[in-house]
Amino acid sequence: MSETVEKPIEELESVIIRFAGDSGDGMQLTGTQFTNTTALLGNDISTFPDFPAEIRAPAGTLPGVSGFQLNFGSRRILTPGDSPDVLVAMNPAALKVNLRDLARGGTLIANEDAFTAQNLKKAGYASNPLEDGSLNGYQLIKVPVTFLTMQGLKELGLPKSTAERCKNFFALGLLCWLYDRPIEPTLRWIEERFGKLPEIAEANSTAIKAGYYFAETTELFPKHYQVKKAPIEPGKYRKITGNEAAALGFVAASRLAKTPLFYGSYPITPASDILHELARFKNYGVKTFQAEDEIAAVTAVIGAAYGGALAVTGTSGPGVALKSEAIGLAVMVELPIVIANVQRAGPSTGMPTKTEQADLFQAVLGRNSESPVAVVAPATPADCFAMAIEACRIATKYMLPVFFLSDGFLANGAEPWKIPALSELPSFAIRHASANGGETFQPYSRDEETLARPWALPGTPGLEHRIGGIEKANLSGNVSYDPDNHAAMVKLRAEKVERIANDIPLLQVKGQPEGDLLVLGWGSTYGPITAAVEQAQHEGLKVSSAHLRYLSPFPRNLGEVLGRFDRVLLPEMNMGQCRMLIRARYLKDVVGLNKVKGRPFMISEILAKIHELLEKGERA
């Protein structure tokens, strides 16, 4: 592809690019294609899209800006990156919204054609930032993207609007050259995707090529960059988002358990995509049920669990609130259900498209009376696969509701996923009770190890029994108002959850097993915490990290691990919910680092706190 004189190429360890434009500009597509190409090159990657709240806010306005950030490198990449090295701004609004994140001195590639008086006004600019010197601190590269795209497509004789809509491919081509990525994968993709619309296919192919060649030729880009393969574990990979991984995990669990999956849900951002994904898997026997509301979703799921299905419901925080009463019923009747909560920023409707991890209290404690459940939380997008399976395994083994706490950051973020061999997946057999020659069936008898009651399915001869939300007599399951029975049952239900601790991995410490400071995390903070701690360790600080993927019960050794460190820092995207649970239980003065901005932690934020704590205390 490089027929002209080669420009010099410089090697980089990692790059963070953010594509930003109007929602109509196709930035998600550009970002995704760039990511796919990058993945195929063997870089490690992490991505995060930033959707606007409106479906289609008026073109050119600030609320209409859509962004996509990608971090890729020849070393391990743990987050989508703190601040972009390169910002591609397709219009003034995109610049306005995103500039504050761009690293000082970073590269800004702007589509200068879009900086019209009207667009500047819509974005609230008094003067044109491309001209007024306000961007002096950055490496500004103005490209007339629209004009060049139209030029490139002139010969195709397309309507103006169609041609113009290809400008994202032009930009993609440009970036491909700049970071030395081949455009062939995208050309192939265009072929597949638009095969039936040859005009569009040709327009897009032409546009990406035009961008590529333009970059190669123009003096605007005196050199380009190379990011070598990352030392990734060998294997077959695919890129996966948290919601995709969760959906796959539930299907996998269903197959592993040889039990059909029933997914009952009411659409809600950012959980709806799990429903959409699962609705595609009908040939896997998956039944999806779009209920009239969240209450119907969770109660239908309870009915399905009663009938013997692997029963999962998915929603976000406000939906969980509505499901609380029914989850209490599942606790009482001891049926296995999984509640996937893709957390978003709240309270109330809050900021639906933004991330947060503030529904931990709701999961652990948000029901009437003593109503214990299990809670797991994936650490990365790909980990949603493993933890979805775990949630199903625990629910069916212990006969209780299990929360799967993902969040908007994991749900929409993507990373490479090493596709596991089927043999690596946990196996879990499901046993259903069957009649046992003459003996009286006791629906509330218990497994000695797990304390689970038998999962006895309607339709099984001889096991006819009644369950319900009124307190049950142990063993017989009859309605009971007996005071001692109630006390015993309350304790049994709690003990059942506690026993799970024997069945989950111990908490692993990364770094020294003891020391000045442990940075503890849970859920989607894994990436930034790990990166920050690795950096601090690199600086020679005596700091370790550990990550909770099980929140109820906690891993058995949590107390002991906490005891081995002088101080414990717990960064959370909430006001200290996990911290409070830990303080109450272990009476350890855990320090919080709390961020509630609808955005994930930056590595630098955590690193700064580590520095602060270790300066105040002793320095390694």
């Binding site: 195929l40 063997g42 990734i232 060998p234 294997g235 077959k236 990979y237 695919r238 299907v251 996998a252 029933f262 898997f281 009908k282 040939n283 896997y284 998956v286 039944k287 049920f289 209920a291 009239e292 209450i295 119907a296 109660t299 239908a300 799921v301 309870i302 009915g303 009663y306 009938g307 299905a309 019923l329 009747v333 090493k418 596709i419 089927l422 009649a435 020659g437 003459g438 003996e439 009286t440 069936f441 006791q442 629906p443 399915l457 309607p458 339709g459 099984t460 001869p461 001889g462 096991l463 006819e464 029994h465 009644r466 369950i467 319900g468 939300g469 017989s476 399951g477 009859n478 309605v479």
Partner: protein, 347 residues
């Protein structure tokens, strides 16, 4: 709540020979003396053996209320869920277990107050469930507040000066929501009640049966004019498919349509052919809807089947999509699924 399971291996003959007693659980029935629920329980226990299904195939699912204690008294599978949600629990069950005969037991408060949303959506989904609504026009279990079917001006503990709302008509709401089978009967009309239960079981799709039920403690006599021997035949109109609408002690009265306005006529003055005839099989629900609105004192109150039309059931459509998907895409293979889409190999 336990059963011995000695009958595990019974064959078809035994199934055929089940009796009413086989459907009575060991739990003491705890409704108030004289409660209409007793009769409904008895009729259900009487008709089930006639369906020749083994006991384990039945599931009774209820919400909360006096009526909702029903499942405890049935020696079948039973699930006493939470207030208002039985239709949704039953829907989930039936979606994954179309082999079971699933019955929803609910009250006027349970189905139409807190459970109103699930009720209308169940009706339009047409999942093959049998819904028995025990309508006593009061909240029994919480000791006597007015319910959505209580008459306007009802004086109760929560409305000492009278309630302020028009009652809901369960049959009309079910029809408007698209129910394929809708019937009404009365706790004391033993034979008719049995017939309606049979019809409900025969119908494939959601079968909704409203049962007028007396609560002697908090709303005694709510249906008295329909059950009292003296007034019954003048106040109750028994619907029969294909038959003209007649009622009265000696079937001496009939209903004639005047445009869209129904009127009571004396049969000696009018030919039977001029009477309005019942047709439960109409796709258009206008007639059924009109009948559902009949009320005293102008018109007699209809009991019987208002509508019974066959439509595909939700759970069958659901299964059909799965079958088609498997036919066209092949039975899903987990390995293939995991490797779906763009992949790359790192050596």
């Amino acid at each position: 709540m336990n059963e011995s399971n000695g009958d595990k291996e019974r064959g078809q003959t035994e199934v055929l020979s089940l009796t009413r007693k086989d459907f009575a659980s060991d739990q003491e029935v705890r409704w108030c003396p004289g409660c209409g629920d007793y009769s409904i329980l008895a009729q259900v226990q009487k008709v089930l053996p006639t369906f020749h299904l083994p006991r384990e195939k039945y599931v009774f699912i209820s919400g909360i209320g006096c009526s909702s204690r029903f499942p405890y008294y049935m020696k079948t599978y039973g699930f006493h869920t939470i207030h208002g949600r039985a239709p949704a629990v039953a829907s989930g069950l039936k979606c994954v277990r179309p082999d079971l005969s699933v019955w929803v037991i609910t009250g006027d408060g349970d189905a139409l107050s807190i459970g109103g949303n699930h009720f209308i959506h169940l009706m339009r989904r047409n999942i093959d469930l049998n819904v028995l609504l025990f309508n006593n026009r009061i909240y029994g279990l919480t000791k006597g507040q007015y319910s959505p079917t209580s008459e306007l001006g009802k004086k109760t503990k929560s409305t000492p000066m009278g309630s302020l709302e028009q009652p809901l008509n369960p049959v009309a709401v079910a029809l408007a929501a698209g129910a394929t089978f809708v019937a009404r009967t009365i706790d004391t009309e033993i034979k008719h009640l049995q017939q309606m239960l049979e019809r409900a079981q025969q119908h494939k799709g959601t079968s909704f049966v409203e049962i007028y039920q007396n609560c002697p403690v908090f709303n005694d006599g709510a249906w008295e004019s329909l059950t009292d021997k003296a007034t019954r035949s003048d106040h109750v109109l028994t619907l029969e498919h294909g038959k003209p609408l007649v009622f009265g002690k000696e079937n001496e009265k009939g209903i004639r349509l005047h445009g869209l306005r129904p009127e009571v006529v004396a049969l000696d003055a009018v030919a039977k052919d001029d009477l309005l005839s019942h047709d439960e099989k109409l796709d258009d629900t206008t007639l059924a809807y009109m009948l559902s609105r009949f009320d005293m004192p102008q018109l007699p109150v209809p009991i019987g089947v208002f509508r019974a039309v066959e439509k595909p059931t939700y759970e069958n459509l659901m299964q059909r999509q799965i079958d088609v998907a498997i036919e066209t895409q092949g039975e899903g293979d987990l390995e293939a699924l995991l490797h779906e889409g763009d992949t790359w190999v790192v050596q």
